[in-house]
Symmetry: C2
Subunit: 338 residues, 2 copies
C-alpha cells in the first residue's frame, strides 16, 4: 500500500510538497513537480480516499436515491438516469453512491450523518414528497429530479411536462386536427400525484383552450384489457378523434395494436403523437414525439448537486447570511421529434 510518504521519499521531497503538487493549491517549481509526478506514476500512487476526506471533510461522492417501485415493477428509464448521472458526476470528479428508497429517509439520514457523501440526488420526486422536507431539515445539499409542488427550498430540474403536453396538442392542431384525444398516464399515477402525470393533464387542458380544438382527456390504466375497452369505445364513438396524443408511452405497442384492430391506419386514419420515450420494442416503427431529455436532465441535476455543495461550503465562510442564491427550478423545454 503506497502512501504519500513513499512518494515523497522517492521524489526526495516532503509529503506536504506532494500534496501541493496533487492539489495545485500552492506554487511548486516545475522541476520538483516533475520529480513528484514521476514518482507518482512509477509507484502507481492513488491518494487514500478515507484519509483525504477525513482531513478535508469532502468525500467527492454524491448519493443517488433510486426509486424502488413497490411490487417489483421497474421503470427502465430509471436505470438510464442512474447511468447518465454516474457519468455526469465523474465529469465533475464525483463518484456516485447508490441507495434505494427501501431505506427511505433514515437511509438518507445515515448517509448524511456518517459523511459518506457530500450531496444527494433524489430521483422520481413527486408533487408531495416527504423526502424533500426531510432533506431540507437535515440541511444536506440536495438536488431533485422531478417536479415538487410549491416552493421547496431545494434546487430541482425536470422536463416541463405541462409545456410538453401542451406542445403535443398544439402539434396535433397544427397538423389540422380538430378532434384530439389525449391519453394521459395511468389513473394510479395521477392519483399518486406524480408531477408528470398531473402536469401533463393540465398542459393538455390548457392547449385545448388555446387551440379551440375539441380535446378530450382520458386516463389510461395498466390493465390492458380495460385499456383496450376504453380505446375501442373511444374509436367507435360517432365523433371519434382523428388524432391521439399518448402520454402512457410504455403501453404504446398495445395501443397501436388496438387502433389497428379498430381499423385505423396510422397515421393516415389516426395521427398518433407520443409524449415521452418510445419503448424498446416498437419494432423499428417511429412516431412523432417529445423525448425525455435523459442525459440533459442528468447533467442538470448533477450540476445542481455540485452547486449545492459549493453553496453549502461558502455559507459557512461567508460573512452575511447569504444562502439566498436563487433557487429557480430548471425546467427543460420540450422539443418535438418526428
Amino acid at each position: 500500500m503506497t502512501t504519500i510518504k513513499d512518494v515523497a521519499l522517492r521524489a526526495g521531497v516532503a509529503p506536504s510538497t506532494v500534496s501541493y503538487v496533487l492539489s495545485g493549491s500552492r506554487k511548486i517549481s516545475e522541476e520538483t513537480r516533475q520529480a513528484v509526478q514521476t514518482a507518482i506514476d512509477e509507484l502507481g500512487y492513488h491518494p487514500r480516499a478515507s484519509a483525504r476526506s477525513l482531513r478535508s471533510t469532502r468525500t467527492n461522492v454524491i448519493a443517488l436515491a433510486l426509486p424502488r417501485v413497490p411490487g417489483g415493477y421497474h421503470r427502465s428509464v430509471d436505470g438510464r438516469f442512474a447511468i447518465e448521472i454516474c457519468d455526469a458526476a465523474r465529469r465533475h470528479d464525483y463518484d456516485v453512491l447508490l441507495m434505494t428508497d427501501q431505506h427511505g429517509v433514515p437511509g438518507l439520514r445515515r448517509i448524511a450523518g456518517s459523511g459518506l457523501a457530500d450531496a444527494a440526488i433524489l430521483m422520481a420526486v413527486e408533487l408531495e414528497d416527504p423526502r424533500v422536507e426531510a432533506m431540507r431539515e437535515i440541511g444536506f445539499p440536495t438536488a431533485l429530479l422531478g417536479s415538487p409542488s410549491g416552493e421547496v427550498g431545494l434546487p430541482w430540474t425536470d422536463l416541463d411536462w405541462e409545456a410538453a403536453a401542451a406542445l403535443a396538442v398544439h402539434e396535433a392542431a397544427v397538423a389540422g386536427h380538430r378532434r384530439i384525444a389525449y391519453l394521459a398516464t395511468t389513473e394510479h399515477e395521477i392519483l399518486a400525484r406524480r408531477g408528470y402525470a398531473v402536469l401533463g393533464v393540465a398542459g393538455a387542458r390548457r392547449a385545448g383552450d388555446e387551440t379551440g380544438a375539441q380535446v378530450t382527456i382520458h386516463d389510461s390504466t395498466s390493465d390492458m384489457v380495460r385499456l383496450d375497452g376504453r380505446l375501442r369505445s373511444l374509436l367507435t364513438a360517432p365523433d371519434a378523434p382523428t388524432a391521439l396524443v399518448v402520454q402512457h408511452v410504455s403501453a404504446l405497442p398495445h395501443i397501436l395494436a388496438a387502433c389497428t384492430a379498430a381499423g385505423r391506419r396510422i397515421p393516415e386514419d389516426l395521427w398518433v403523437f407520443a409524449v415521452g420515450n418510445l419503448p424498446d420494442d416498437m419494432g423499428g416503427r417511429e412516431l412523432p414525439r417529445i423525448e425525455l431529455p435523459i442525459s440533459e436532465l442528468a447533467d442538470e441535476v448533477t450540476r445542481l448537486a455540485v452547486q449545492a455543495i459549493a453553496d453549502h461550503a461558502t455559507q459557512h465562510t461567508a460573512r452575511e447570511p447569504a444562502g439566498h442564491r436563487r433557487l429557480s427550478p430548471v425546467l427543460l423545454p420540450p422539443r418535438a421529434v418526428s
Copy 2:
C-alpha cells in the same frame, strides 16, 4: 458535527469505551452500555465513515460496475440488478458505489487504489472479458455476474443458461411436440460471445439430441423487419414447428404479433415458451417460461463479494498460503413457470 468525543463526554466515559460499545469487540457492563447508547441516541450520532475506514482499512462499500451498452441502448434488467444488489449489500451492512463501464479497467483500478471500496461486483461479464484478468491481477476482491469461460480464479454466479435452454426444449417435448424451433438471442450477442447467448444455443442443441425431437435453431436479430421475415418463412415452411422456444424475450410482443399474423393461435396452434423474463408490456398475457432469478442472483453475487473480502482479509493473517478456497461457480438451476 458530533464526534465520538461528544458522545463520550455526555455519557461520562472515554472515547474508546464508546467505540467498544459500537463494535461490541470488548466486554462492556450493561450499565455503561446503556449510558452510551442513550448519549448516541440523544445526539443522533453517526460514526464518521472516513475516520473509521482510515483506521480500519475497511470501507464497507462495494463497487458495482454497471455495463454501459454502446449506442445508448439499455437493458432494463440491469437496473433491476443494480437495485437488488444494493439492497442485498445493505443486508450485509455494505453500501454500493456505482460505476459505469465508461471508465473501464482504469476506473476499477482507481477505485481499488484509492480504497473507495472493499470489493467489486462486475455485471454482464462475457465469456472473454478483459476486466476479469485485470481484477485478478490487481488482486482486488471481486465477484462476477455472468459466465466467464474457463477457470478464471474469481468467484462468479449466473443462471445456468445451458440448462435453462435445455429445460425449455425438454418442456416442449414433454408437451408432445416433435418439431421445435429455438429462437436464440440476436446474432450480435452470439458473435460478441455473451455467455447466455452461446450457452443457450448449446443447451438447445443438447436437448435436441436428448429428446430426439427435430429441434431447429435460429438466430434472432434486433432488426424487426428481418425478424418478421425469418418468422414468416419459418411458419410457412412445409414442416413448420408446432412449438417455439424464444430466448430473445425482449422481442416477444413482436414475435407473438408475427405469429398471429401468420394465422397461428397461441398456444393452440403454436406452443410458445420463453427463456427469460417477459417484457413489461405483454399486456397481461402470460407465457410458460423460465424466469431470470434476479434477486437470487443479486443475493448470490453479493454474498460472493462479501466472502471475497473476508478471504482477502484472512489471507494476510493466516500462516499457510491458504487462499485455495474452492472457487466453484455458483450456477443457479433454471425453474420453469407456467
